[in-house]
Symmetry: D2
Subunit: 144 residues, 4 copies
Amino acid sequence: MDTNIKQRVQDSFACQPVLATIGATLTRVRSGEVTIELPIRSDLTQQHGFVHAGIVTLVADTACGYAALTLMPPLAAVLSVEFKVNFLSPATGEKLIARGWVIKPGKTIMVCQGEIHARNGGEDKLVAIILATMITREDVGLVG
Amino acid sequence: MDTNIKQRVQDSFACQPVLATIGATLTRVRSGEVTIELPIRSDLTQQHGFVHAGIVTLVADTACGYAALTLMPPLAAVLSVEFKVNFLSPATGEKLIARGWVIKPGKTIMVCQGEIHARNGGEDKLVAIILATMITREDVGLVG
Amino acid sequence: MDTNIKQRVQDSFACQPVLATIGATLTRVRSGEVTIELPIRSDLTQQHGFVHAGIVTLVADTACGYAALTLMPPLAAVLSVEFKVNFLSPATGEKLIARGWVIKPGKTIMVCQGEIHARNGGEDKLVAIILATMITREDVGLVG
Amino acid sequence: MDTNIKQRVQDSFACQPVLATIGATLTRVRSGEVTIELPIRSDLTQQHGFVHAGIVTLVADTACGYAALTLMPPLAAVLSVEFKVNFLSPATGEKLIARGWVIKPGKTIMVCQGEIHARNGGEDKLVAIILATMITREDVGLVG
């Protein structure tokens, strides 16, 4: 992966207002794999004090989408066609760590998987797993 | 559905900090069906100016979860086991309207479906569809 | 829908050996919607005497795929990108009736939904629901 | 894992008529992980000569279900609540090898993942990936 791709992911990440709203940060970009972290804040929780499933999904989907983007041509953009998420443990602790990677790269479709862990006192617990289908949109890239 | 159930959904909704954070409101509660609305704000968007798939999912999942709750016993709580969401059109316009309903009620498992429309100039467009599996946790209700 | 499309679905259906193996029949083809029936046989069941989830899925996926095909150009073919199926009741009785329809047609991607009912003594019970993503492959059509 | 569990999986496998119908065999049983093989036959294929997505799903679901069963108490039975499958490559070659494993064991719910490879001339290619939710039914076990 050339450094341009890393820069491209960072630039795109910075252009997503919702990621600033929830306080997500991009912590690693490799070819076909991206990690995002989210410090857990009480304003992101549901009624039992856990991070809401939708917020867990947001960071998981974003990690998968950028993992796909690292394998795409320069002017392409990525859109989520669909995803499925299974929730395994309550999302609680200090921060969420969402890692997404490409299982199957394709010219049009990229299938990605991701795991979201919650870090609590130095220990990581698997919170959710995502299986996502991404689509390349080169034309979107031209205007995005 | 008795009025207690409607009240129970409203009370639970008010206890979810993330719903206030994104500005979601509960607009309808019926037996087995709940509607939530989300005024579209720029701080909830991704890089193309559309509401992020994770936020669309958040309101969809919440509508499904509360639809399930309307069919549960008084002290029960509902958790998302998993869901799948397909994204059909960009989430753009004035507000999102997420309607969730129970397809198959069960003692332990409730299967729900939901549709999320974007309203733009008086016209509604289908943005996403969700198929979700919810689980009843009566013990959670005792402490939640 | 012109009659050519109906003929095209019938021809393709007849070219799938597995559909003859399990005894599935094509019972209705409309624009964007297809129905398939499967007489329940004991050699298609699992250990509790119900039709196996994989066989239920097979007819559901096939109904969705052909629903998508009805909206595609003449030489196109359809492939399943992915699907999710929820199982709601045991698949038991005289026959399964799988109806698939297109929720969102697209040039490349078609999102479909389907319901599978089991008919038992004149009564239909919802057995499963499918949400599927199909992709158009015009080039496959040229050789298919 | 005690040998009783292996025996229990073998006995249950032998009681599923559909597995004999398609010619699937149980090739490995470990604690939380099961492998099933399916020699590819032309009567299991769709119109392009590949094994039908429904048959791929059948073996994938079965591998996941038995993986869950290995972690359950003696008289329990397992049912598929739902699954999602992504199809990555055509299922063609000599045989399919479906491996399922438990990601998250639970008292009621078990979340499983699986990979299905196609072996062709000594080479294995990833054909599909499954993410499944299984439920324990102890009462079913008493009569199953």
